[in-house]
């Protein structure tokens, strides 16, 4: 069932609003990290928003998604509640995991978001298994696995590609190629012709696109998601992008050439989408209003997070396991 492609401005404007929400979330997350309100690691998705939104806009609520350490954008795009996510970053009651997981473990199973992940490429094999389950249960869902360009050098990624193809599983691998892994330029540690070639060597259809082009991501995802749902087997999209911030909020990314960052800023997805919207007749006022709304919304979530209660100590001892769960306050 091919989806009719309508890049009508209203629809794209809606997607743009989601991108704004992600951007505002990431800015608030980093701000509150620096203010000492959010602990741990905060990996910002700033500059990569068009990928998550362009892909997830083409998914159903019951489609599944696995993510990696940079998972805030994927979660919001899939429909997770950003307020609950902010509360999670603050470690409070009402957070997506009640404060147990934090930034690297955002999950919202009610929208098929099966979890961000602290261990690189572990989402790949989990996705293969979820796809086996989809098949066994005779569902028409698909699963999307997001992975970074650095992650493709872990064995589980290669194992997952092979397996997904052997069993023609409904998996869409989306490699977000921001060209860097922490402080290492990925191409200095990656052999061969890249991610697309690697997927194709397993017989998996793969395509490389400009991941900062929202319309292109949307169009590509619309086609591929339909194909996978119709039984094409696994496919891979390599979305080229750029990590505009440090690896995490406490990394200033001084190892990068400032001119590289400067030119990347010109190519980032927000202004590009804005320009397109303006060309389509969306007014500057409407765009500015959307930006303000996202910021205001986020400011509200942050103040909610400040006010939300801390979890009760007893919560530390729940949801460990059924048989053999520790009694509260004991070490057993």
């Amino acid at each position: 069932m091919a989806q009719v492609q309508t890049n009508e401005p209203a629809r794209i404007f809606n997607m743009y609003k989601k991108m704004l929400l992600i951007r505002a979330f990431e800015e608030a997350a980093a701000e509150n990290f620096h203010a000492g309100n959010v602990r741990g690691s905060v990996h910002q998705y700033i500059g990569e928003e068009a990928i998550a939104v362009g892909i997830c806009e083409n998914l159903r609520n019951d489609d599944l998604l696995t993510s990696y350490h940079r998972g805030h954008g994927h979660s919001i795009a899939k429909g997770a509640d950003p307020r609950a996510m902010m509360l999670e970053l603050f470690g409070r009651v009402g957070g997506t995991s009640g404060g147990k997981g934090g930034s690297m473990h955002i999950a919202d199973f009610s929208v098929g978001m099966l979890g961000a992940n602290g261990v690189i490429a572990d989402g790949c094999t989990i996705s293969v298994g979820a796809a086996q389950a989809i098949k066994l249960l005779k569902q028409d869902k698909i699963i999307v696995n997001f992975i970074g360009d650095g992650g493709i050098n872990r064995g589980p990624f290669m194992e997952a590609l092979n397996w997904a193809k052997v069993y023609e599983l409904p998996v869409l691998f989306v490699c977000e190629n921001n060209q860097i892994a922490a402080t290492t330029t990925t191409k200095t540690v990656t052999a061969g012709d890249g991610i697309e070639a690697r997927a194709k060597s397993y017989g998996i259809p793969a395509i490389t696109i400009d991941g900062n082009d929202l319309l292109l991501v949307d169009r590509t995802a619309a086609r591929i998601v339909d194909e996978i749902r119709a039984g094409s087997g696994p496919q891979l999209i390599q979305a080229m992008t750029y990590r505009l911030k440090g690896h995490y909020a406490h990394d200033e990314a001084l190892y990068r050439n400032p001119s590289e960052v400067e030119s990347a800023l010109k190519n980032e997805p927000m202004p590009r989408t804005e320009t397109w919207l303006k060309d389509q007749g969306v007014s500057i006022e409407e765009i500015e209003k959307a930006k303000d709304e996202a910021k205001k919304l986020m400011a509200n979530y942050v103040s909610d997070a400040h006010e939300a209660p801390w979890p009760d100590i007893s919560d530390a001892f729940t949801d460990v396991q059924d048989v053999g769960s520790p009694a509260e306050g004991t070490n057993l």
Binding site: G95, R154, P326, N331
Partner: protein, 325 residues
Amino acid sequence: MTKMTYAEAARLALKEEMERDSTVWALGEDLGFEGGMGGQYKDLQAEFGIDRIVDTPISEATIMGAAIGAALAGTRPIAELRFSDFAMCAVDELVNQAAKARYMFGGQARVPMIARMPIGIRGGIAAQHSQSPEAWYTHVPGLVVVTPATPADNRGLLKAAIRCDDPVVYMEHKGLWGTEGEVEENDSHPIPLGIARKVVTGNDLTIVTWSAMVDIVEKAALSLADEGISVEVIDLRTLWPWDRDSVFSSVKKTGRLMVVHEAVQVGGFGAEITSEVSEHLFSMLKAPVKRMGGARIPIPFSIPLEAAYMISKEQIINKSKSFFS
């Protein structure tokens, strides 16, 4: 004596060993520019070149496997896994290959490598970045397990680990990178593996501990001294082999033993020490042995929940007092 951080001391040790022995080298992610998570490899790539401080792809199984191969083929590699949590991506290589090669091949093979994998809670990095699985590796014949607690020990023990001809699981604590301590720069001797350090001398109670808990136990012992309880604190330094002689002679003196570790209490290495003491020194014990370890829960993110996992100075004081009430 020079003041140095735990990370700086480790860096000094590695630098000295790399200067001493040209077959010593390290491999891992982000070692060059970043210089390791705590700066423990800082600028060493510039000094020794990209063939001795090797930046690897994100490929843990191969980082560990390659170190084994390189050790079998005549060098002394340090496999840097960044977090003991990620080292779990390469447990097979460590346990099935590194630990067993010497034995399976009838003594033909030696595996002089280090599997370097920081442990512990640093605050807010949750279930997949905070674990302390040191006990797992004490269970594997063939492996040496080292858990340094101070800058001086991180220098001396790392040197000993590098010179060790068997595979060493070297577990620094992530919470200690920035801790300062005195290091004798002129004394570049390794600290022998398997020798504990007496941190505080006392007569009423022996507390055996290691890694980041040493500092907390020491503070608890000082507070207890003010209340008239004389605690002897032993930093085990090496979990395998562990210094039975030091622990046994201390327990013979005090008649009481408690083991404290950050790792989950159930199945923790404290169980091994307390049961050895119970088996062999039962008649000398004035009270049953005690253990303190983390709750058997994944390490939670939120501050109060994480605190519920951790062992505080107050808890150590209270449990110590319970020996005498």
